[in-house]
Amino acid sequence: MALPKAKEDALAARLAALPAVEGKGWLAAARSEALARLSAMGLPGRRDEYWRYTDPASLNAPEAPVARRFDASDEAAPFDGIDRVRLVFVDGVFDAAASDDPALAGVTIERLAEAGRRDIHWAQGLYGVLEARGQTPVARPFAALNTGFASDGVLIHVTGRAAKPVSLVYVHEAETSDAILHHCVKLDPGAELTLLENGPAAARFSKVLEVEVAEGARFHHIRLQGRDHERRAVTHIFARLGAGAEFRSFTLTANGRLTRNEAVVELAGAEARAHVAGAAVGDGDFHHDDTVFITHAAEACESRQVFKKVLMNGAVGVFQGKILVKPGAQKTDGYQISQSLLLDEDSQFLAKPELEIYADDVKCSHGSTSGAIDETALFYLQSRGVPRRTAQALLVLAFLAEAIDEVADETIAEDIRARLERWLARHGSRG
């Protein structure tokens, strides 16, 4: 079907502004297939069902809107004390000098551009493949754009139990940087990896992460999106899980003018488990959108979506979460909760929880709420001598607890709590 003229023009303008990507062979083929997908769907507009709550204009614009850097040196960089393999990207370009030696037992790490020059590579079966699968039934144009134009990224092949986490550090330098990164992670049966990501990355950041988790493999992902107030980001995680595999992803978002985090997870093997969680805190010019699609395609799988947002001074939170239970996916256990705490009347939370179930022996629950801080609880704490601001912080952290509990590593969870406490102290909720 041909695109309407306006959509065609918008796409042409967007594509014209993108730098040409070099290469031939399998990577070039994957890119041109992605471009064909994108050309068929066009860029999103407010009328598209999954863009009603989030305006894609600044993501559609040919040039990245200016975003000043933010000095976050008042606190230690995330994951500072953790022994990890650091891979640094500055404005979306790999910085070898700032990175660790990527040698890690049980893990092979390569740059996308280098792997793309090879005739045959395992990533052929993954790069753009899960993204393409994830385009139905909901179109995800920015993911296709990413696959077509990502010039950098890492390919991680995990054959055993990784001795330490791989940590992707995203540095934002230029005020108009427009970064596109695409990573693939392939975990062989029984393999284990923790992937850490942190940093604002760029003025405008597009990222796709494709993860294949084979039978009995475990993938843990923890991401802190950086404190830049003006940055914009559109990210996608596409994951496919084999039998008995485990996938856990947690994202902390504090600040950011626009963030759209999509997670598309397919539970393809029996007894696989997928947990996707996020905690987001925003003050003022902050728009945060979690869009999640979990497909139960096999029996006895478990999925959990836990998303919590704290919003003040006009901040906006969006949650669009779906559980699809395919025919035959009996004994499915699906759980979804999305909640927001609105600290004033100017802030807004928009939620669209969806369940679509084609099996009869399933357990699925979902809940979505938004509310103010509990004044009675606040008074109770104050009456015991706890200052109002401390009491508020305590209640806000209690509200976020269920999401943070999804972080399995207690040291990291504690660090995240401390960061949130400091954020709350800096932004001092009203009242």
Binding site: A377, F379, S383, R384, G385, P387, A391, L394
Partner: protein
């Protein structure tokens, strides 16, 4: 200790006057009881003293050892030594009881310029006090009051009181929702805190709590005023004859 003078209070949201000139003076170590029918203003008095939102003081004062309470934030009143045991203790999901107690104790110590208790010292003290109130380790770990029975909630209030060591304790219908055994346990907890200096204001509908917590002075409240004051016998009189006689008498 606590001195309330001519206290007039109305609801902030509507034009409804609840307290119409309350006068009350409680000396160090004294136990006073306030009894009265529903709607007489007993609970409002406790809320106004502890600083809950929604009430407007139109006249009068309330001082604790000469310090004006009504101008302080609720947490400042607590640090000054005031404690309210709630009629309906509040559930706080996500905040562990132990964290709550420690945050409160240390916030008060800090406000008074004292050193915060170490985790070890705190644990030792809380375990000891919890034991006498038959509060087990499990209850200390659970979120504040979440899933607690009525009796557990009230015992938890007394535990907070024991940990915070206030000078002036207000007990708002602490007997409501308690069976005989629980009432005995709670009363024993309160009596253990009577040391000749700490003062208590016990608000109750019924005389039975006063069998356990023996008051020095009993007040009858009606229509937003204290209409009669007497000794422990006054509570017995109410128990036998109800409030009607007294209310008729004072008009």
């Amino acid at each position: 200790m606590l001195e309330i003078k001519n206290l007039h209070v109305k609801l902030e949201e509507e034009d409804k006057v609840i307290l119409r000139g309350v006068d009350l003076k409680i000396g160090p170590g004294e136990v006073h009881a306030i009894m009265g029918p529903n709607g007489s203003g007993k609970s409002t008095l406790s809320y106004v003293l502890s600083g809950r939102d929604g009430y407007e003081v139109t006249e009068g004062s309330a001082t604790l050892d000469g310090q004006e309470l009504l101008e302080m934030e609720p947490e400042e009143r607590a640090a000054a030594g005031l404690f309210l045991a709630f009629q309906y203790p509040v559930e706080i999901p996500g905040v562990g009881n132990m964290t709550f107690l420690r945050t409160a104790v240390n916030a008060q110590r800090k406000a008074r310029g004292e050193e915060e208790l170490s985790a070890g010292d705190f644990l030792k003290i809380v375990r000891e006090k919890a034991k006498t109130l038959k509060i087990d380790a499990e209850m200390l770990k659970r979120p504040v009051n979440v899933g607690f029975s009525g009796g557990e909630k009230k015992r938890n209030e007394i535990l907070q009181m024991a940990m915070l060591e206030p000078r002036m304790c207000i007990l708002d219908e602490t007997d409501s929702g308690l069976d005989v055994d629980a009432m005995k346990l709670v009363s024993d907890g309160v009596n253990a805190l009577r040391d000749g200096k700490r003062s208590f204001l016990v608000i109750t509908h019924y005389q039975r709590l006063l069998d356990h917590i023996k008051p020095d002075v009993v007040h009858i409240m009606a229509g937003g005023r204290i209409v009669r004051t007497g000794g422990p016998d006054l509570a017995l009189e109410v128990e036998q004859n109800g409030y009607a006689d007294i209310l008729n008498e004072v008009g």
